[in-house]
Structures are given as structure tokens and as C-alpha cells.
């Protein structure tokens, strides 16, 4: 009986030893990976900051104004003026399309609808 226990004990010891060995190296690997990732994050953050600065530099108002002036014939952009404010009712409905048929006017009917039931209601009552 006793030798069997000894043999089993040794086997367990060997097993635990190799497990501990593997875990040790796995931990070291994981730590190395984390440190690599941290470095990568630091680099990415730095390049993100550079990109953000670059974006802000490319979008600086001076440059945008120059671009708008250069491309005036294509874009036709003017500075914003008080006369450019309009009412929603000023916007025209799209013209009827040959393929799609007349535009959907249900929204327009919906807007003018509430007046009708109120006018009809007294007639419906006996």
C-alpha cells in the first residue's frame, strides 16, 4: 500500500511542478503582451493627437475660406446672411417624376386635415 501512495505522490508532485512552470511562463508572456499593447496604445494615442492637430489645421477657417473662394463656381457658397432664413412653408414640393408618379402629398393632407372633422362634427349629430 505504502509504495503506491509514494508513486502517486511523486506523480502529483511532477504534475504540479510542470503546471507551475507553464503558468509562470504564461504569466510572463501575458505581461510582455500587456506591455507591448500599452506601448502600442501610447503610440496610437500620440498619432491620434497628431491626426487631431492635423485635422484642426486643415479645417482652420483661413484655409476653408480660401478653398471656398477657389471653388466658388462649383460650390457657390456665400457667407451666412439674415435673408437666408426661411419658413418651412416656403419649401416647394418636388415636381412629379415620370417614373415614380406624382409626389406623395399625404403629409400635406395630414397638415390640413384637423380643420375638417371639427367642421363635420355638428352635422353628424342628430
Amino acid at each position: 500500500m505504502r509504495p503506491i501512495i509514494y508513486v502517486l505522490g511523486f506523480l502529483v508532485l511532477i504534475g504540479l511542478g510542470s503546471w507551475a512552470y507553464r503558468e509562470n511562463y504564461a504569466t510572463q508572456n501575458a505581461l510582455r503582451q500587456v506591455s507591448d499593447l500599452q506601448n502600442e496604445i501610447a503610440l496610437l494615442r500620440e498619432s491620434l493627437a497628431v491626426q487631431r492637430a492635423e485635422w484642426a489645421y486643415l479645417n482652420r477657417p483661413d484655409r476653408l475660406r480660401e478653398l471656398v473662394t477657389l471653388n466658388f463656381d462649383r460650390l457657390g457658397l456665400f457667407p451666412m446672411e439674415p435673408t437666408q432664413f426661411g419658413a418651412a412653408s416656403d419649401i416647394a414640393y418636388p415636381a412629379p417624376d415620370a417614373l415614380l408618379g406624382p409626389p406623395d402629398t399625404s403629409l400635406e393632407q395630414g397638415l390640413s386635415a384637423p380643420a375638417q372633422p371639427a367642421a363635420d362634427a355638428p352635422e353628424g349629430q342628430p
Binding site: 497628431v50 457667407p79 432664413f85
Partner: protein, 595 residues
């Protein structure tokens, strides 16, 4: 230890002689011997138990100590902790209210030389001088060879420049990591941002510190490592700021002015949406502080905050508003406006010797900008109450705005507040303030009389200031300001749909030795719009403008500052999301006609 014999011969013989049993002596000695053996054994056991207990105690104490150490220390791996600080940029960004970047950091490198590692100093010096035109080859070579072991060459390098320096290939040329402050919009909002420079410098890093403007005023917040990731949000609006700067700059050059300033402020919060001053500079390449001449000749001078001038007639509305608040007058009350007014040996005249008198309503005093009328209103109020009111409006103290230049720009006022000072102060002479002071005071009037504290930082909630004057008086003064534009001195200030109201101010510049210049003026227009529900206050100040388009040269604010302000309002109001109050007529409207 001496061993006692069990049967000592002397006692045995003695016992035998007296007829006692000698065996008893042996038993007695045996008992004694056993007792001493037991005692020795017990001592030994006690010692063992004590040692064992001590061993266990120290083992557990060690474990407890280790546990305590683990619990108390930061749960971080030492190798990861090293990388941490380099991830976050050390100085927080500055953004406008919409999150557009106004100032950010860029990592760059500084170039330095370890002279003992230099292989070929003359070659290095000539190549560096060719790369960087500002370096002097001879001086560089002398510094490299005069025995010092270390010298800085440049504080910042672009990646391209760094590559070119690498290509020189000398082992003595070394790079140190640096963070550099970058203002991507160039000159935009230069006077607000100020600029940044290097503080303590080491080989591997250098601290970036603010040198002016909000960079210096908020230096602590910007450098705080706890909030390094959170940008500082200013109240400026990039688009509006651009437009204001553009219009102001055009105005300054068209009117041949020496300089100018414009402040656009939200009435309810006191937030400054745009702050422009000209001439301006590039904070990326901040010029050196001037060492001679007038401070306001330098582009670094922030006229909006540092320019403490006598601003003239724009003060008249304060006198009128206070008189109405005290119940002395109402807008229709007639006051004496018979010019010229003689006070002691002083003569108070109107512009160009006019006479608006003999009587003028308070509303007309403001609309026509009558000095004499204001002087009489000032006298009705009296020196004490006038001083208290102007102080309550913040016109006696430096502006609390978060710019480092603000606290040093203390408004000037006479030490003794005589009746003559009361008269001149009622039309804005004899006391001076910065445009920022005026902006806050006008915002207070526009805010229904509740004090407005100007700020350059974005606030989420309105600022609840104390009530400085009654809401009724504040509303009445707004109506008066509107009349200045519709019928008075600021007729060029009308912008269709935005109900501009305001007050012009034309003040002769003060000579250094005393007295006033004849042909040098400060023109100011303080505008509020829209008058029916005041949202914004705009102050435009021009330094020595001249309007030369007509037959006569004009220097009044109505011809200079007012058109500039009107153009600013026309351009910025739509950007601020203000709809014109009267709908403009459609361009190609079909009108019903009958024949």
C-alpha cells in the same frame, strides 16, 4: 552536577549505630533524584513549546505584514507603471464651445549635443547651419569646441528636420523628447489664447507653461495631471470668432485705425462668444515682449482687456438708467440741455458747438448724445450715488475675466470725486475703463438689471448675479438704446431684423502730459441686440480711426465704429442662430394684383 550517592556511607553507619533502617535513606535519596530529573525535563519542554510558538508567531506575522503591504500598495505591476505617464499628454487641450481644437500638443524632439561623442565638429556645425538658417556656424563650432560637454541646439524639430539631422550621422547629436504647444488656427483668438513656452527643461522632457492669456490664467488647471485628458472648454465659438476678427480687421484697415477691439458677449451667461483685438499675432510664434515705446504699439497688447481708455458717451446710458431707477426721471422727463453749460471756470459744450436745448427729454439726451443733458442728470443723482452705481456695475474694478492680462488693467478714476467729476463721469470723461468692463456693464443693463460676470470659460448654467437696478429701469434704457439707432447718432447701426440698439462714444485721446489730442480719438459702439429680448452685447472700439470717403474727414463713432459693429452683427447673428424678427420679403414673390 554533583551526583548524590544513594547510600552515603557516613549516614548508613550512623543509622546502623542508632538501629534505624538504612534502606529508608536510600529511598529518600532516590525520591529526591527523581524529582530533580522531572524538573529538568519540564524546563526543557517549556523551552521547546516557547520556541515553537515564537516560530509560528513570526511566520504568521510575516504573512500578515505581506498581506498588509499588498493591501496598502497600488495594485499595479511595476513594469506597467513605467509606461503609464507617457500615454497621457501632459497639458490639456483647449477647445471652443463646439469642441473645435484651439490649442493642442504635438510631440516633437529637441536637439542637443554631447561634445565628447562628436566625431567631426566642423562638419557637424556647417551641416547644422545649412539645415537651420537661424544658427550661426562659427558660433556653433566655438560652443562645440570650448570645452563644455553639453549644449542645446534647437528646442523643437519637425520629423523631416529630425531625419535630416539623423542623416548627418554624428554620434554626438542626440534627441530629447519634447511636447510642443500647437495652435492649429494660427492667429485666430491669439489674444485669448496667449501662448505657451518651455519652463523647466531636462534632457528627456520639458514642462510646457502658459505665458499669456488663458494659457497662463488657467495654467494650474491645464497642467493638472488629474484632468489632462479633459480639454478646457472656452466660451468662444470658432466660426463667430473668425467672422468678428475678419470684419474688425477690415474695419481697422479701411478706417486707417491704429488698432481695435471687439467683444461679443452672451447677455444671460456673461460668456464671451468672440473676443478680437487688432493688431494681432501668431501664438505659435509669439513675438518678444516690447521693451520700449508704448505698450499698445505691440501686437501683444490686448485692447479688449488691457486697453484702459476714456470711452466717452457710452457712459451716458448709465446716468440715465440710474436716474430712472431712483425715480428721479422717466424717459419723457425734460432736462436742461442749454449749451454751453458753465460750471465754475469750466465750460461744457456739445459736439461741434451745437445746442440741443433749452430742454430735452431724457430719451433724446441719449439719442442725440447731449453732454449738457447728461451733466444735469449726473448732478441730480449726486456724487455718492453715482459712484456706488458705477462700482456696482464693475466699472471701478479690473474685469474678472479669466485672462492673465485682466487683473492688471485697473480702470482709472480720480481720487477725489468732486462735482465736476460727477458731471464729466456722466458723459464718460475723467474716468476710464476697458472695453471688457463696458461689455459687462451693458450686459447687466440688457439682463434686466442683474449683474453679469464676464467669463471666457463655457458655463452650463446662467450666472445669477445680484440685481443692480430695477428691471423696469433696465428695460426703459434698452428702449432708449434702440432709439439711438433708429433716430439718433448710430443710424448706420441698423441691421434689418435684429433690432439693434446701442450707444456711440467718441472720446478724444488723453495726452501723456495732460489735456486731450485734437485729432486722435477712441471710437466705441456698445450695441445690444435684439432689443425686445436682449441676447447679445457687442462692443466695438477703434483706436484713432478716420473716415475719409466724404468731403470732410469724420472721426465720430457713428461713422467708424457703428458701421463695423453693424457688419459684425449682420454676419454673426445668423451664425449664432438668431432668426431675423421681421421676415425679409421673398425675392421673387408673386403679389396679387388687379387691373
Amino acid at each position: 552536577m554533583t551526583r548524590i550517592p544513594l547510600r552515603p556511607l557516613a549516614r548508613i553507619l550512623q543509622a546502623r549505630a542508632s538501629g534505624a533502617n538504612p534502606d529508608r535513606i536510600e529511598q529518600e535519596n532516590l525520591a529526591l533524584r527523581h524529582q530533580s530529573m522531572r524538573e529538568a525535563q519540564r524546563n526543557q519542554s517549556q523551552m521547546r513549546i516557547f520556541l515553537l510558538a515564537a516560530a509560528f508567531f513570526s511566520a504568521y506575522a510575516l504573512i500578515a505584514l505581506q498581506m498588509g503591504k499588498l493591501a496598502a500598495s497600488e495594485p499595479a505591476e511595476p513594469r506597467l507603471a513605467q509606461i503609464g505617464p507617457s500615454i497621457n499628454a501632459s497639458r490639456a487641450d483647449i477647445v471652443d464651445r463646439n469642441g473645435n481644437v484651439l490649442a493642442t500638443n504635438l510631440s516633437t524632439h529637441a536637439l542637443y549635443v554631447q561634445t565628447r561623442d562628436l566625431v567631426d565638429p566642423p562638419n557637424v556645425a556647417s551641416k547644422l547651419a545649412a539645415l537651420f538658417p537661424e544658427l550661426d556656424e562659427a558660433a556653433l563650432l566655438r560652443r562645440m569646441t570650448d570645452g563644455r560637454s553639453f549644449l542645446w541646439v534647437r528646442r523643437t524639430l519637425s520629423p523631416e528636420q529630425m531625419q535630416l539631422v539623423h542623416e548627418i550621422g554624428d554620434p554626438g547629436l542626440l534627441f530629447g523628447a519634447r511636447e510642443m504647444r500647437l495652435y492649429p488656427n494660427g492667429q485666430l483668438a491669439a489674444h485669448v489664447l496667449g501662448g505657451a513656452g518651455f519652463g523647466q527643461e531636462g534632457v528627456d522632457s520639458a514642462e510646457v507653461i502658459g505665458v499669456a492669456g488663458v494659457e497662463k490664467a488657467m495654467d494650474g488647471r491645464l497642467r493638472d495631471p488629474a484632468s489632462a485628458g479633459k480639454p478646457l472648454v472656452l466660451s468662444l465659438d470658432l466660426t463667430v470668432q473668425t467672422t468678428v476678427e475678419e470684419v474688425l480687421q477690415t474695419g481697422i484697415s479701411m478706417l486707417s485705425a491704429k488698432g481695435g477691439a471687439a467683444i461679443l458677449m452672451e447677455v444671460q451667461t456673461g460668456e464671451i462668444v468672440a473676443l478680437a483685438a487688432g493688431p494681432t499675432f501668431d501664438p505659435n510664434d509669439r513675438p518678444a515682449n516690447p521693451t520700449s515705446g508704448n505698450p499698445d504699439d505691440s501686437p501683444l497688447f490686448n485692447r479688449a482687456v488691457q486697453g484702459v481708455y476714456e470711452l466717452g458717451s457710452i457712459f451716458k446710458i448709465f446716468a440715465a438708467a440710474q436716474a430712472m431707477d431712483l425715480g428721479l426721471l422717466n424717459p419723457g422727463s425734460m432736462v436742461d440741455a442749454n449749451a454751453p453749460m458753465i460750471w465754475g471756470k469750466h465750460k461744457i459744450e456739445e459736439f461741434e458747438g451745437k445746442n440741443y436745448g433749452p430742454l430735452l427729454s431724457v430719451s433724446d439726451v441719449i439719442a442725440k448724445s447731449s453732454n449738457v443733458g447728461s451733466a444735469h442728470i449726473g448732478l441730480m443723482i449726486g456724487a455718492e450715488r453715482q459712484q456706488a452705481f458705477l462700482k456696482a456695475l464693475g466699472l471701478f474694478d479690473p474685469s474678472p475675466v479669466e485672462l492673465i492680462e485682466a487683473p492688471s488693467a485697473r480702470p482709472l478714476r480720480p481720487d477725489r470725486w468732486t462735482e465736476l467729476v460727477t458731471i464729466t463721469a456722466s458723459y464718460g470723461h475723467g474716468i476710464s475703463g476697458s472695453p471688457m468692463n463696458i461689455a459687462a456693464a451693458y450686459a447687466t443693463l440688457a439682463n434686466g438689471g442683474r449683474l453679469v460676470k464676464p467669463t471666457i470659460l463655457h458655463r452650463d448654467s446662467p450666472y445669477n448675479g445680484p440685481q443692480v437696478l430695477s428691471e423696469a429701469a433696465a428695460d426703459e434704457s434698452m428702449t432708449m438704446l434702440r432709439r439711438v439707432v433708429t433716430e439718433g447718432t448710430a443710424s448706420f447701426g441698423e441691421v434689418a431684423g435684429y433690432e439693434v440698439g446701442g450707444k456711440t462714444g467718441t472720446a478724444d485721446k488723453v495726452k501723456k502730459g495732460g489735456g486731450y489730442y485734437e485729432d486722435k480719438v477712441i471710437n466705441t459702439f456698445a450695441a445690444v441686440f435684439p432689443i425686445s429680448d436682449p441676447k447679445y452685447v457687442l462692443i466695438v472700439t477703434l483706436d484713432e480711426p478716420v473716415e475719409t470717403s466724404g468731403a470732410t474727414v469724420k472721426r465720430t463713432a457713428g461713422w467708424t465704429a457703428v458701421p463695423v459693429a453693424a457688419e459684425i452683427i449682420r454676419r454673426t447673428a445668423p451664425l449664432l442662430g438668431l432668426r431675423p424678427l421681421v421676415e425679409p420679403a421673398a425675392k421673387n414673390a408673386i403679389l396679387p394684383v388687379s387691373n
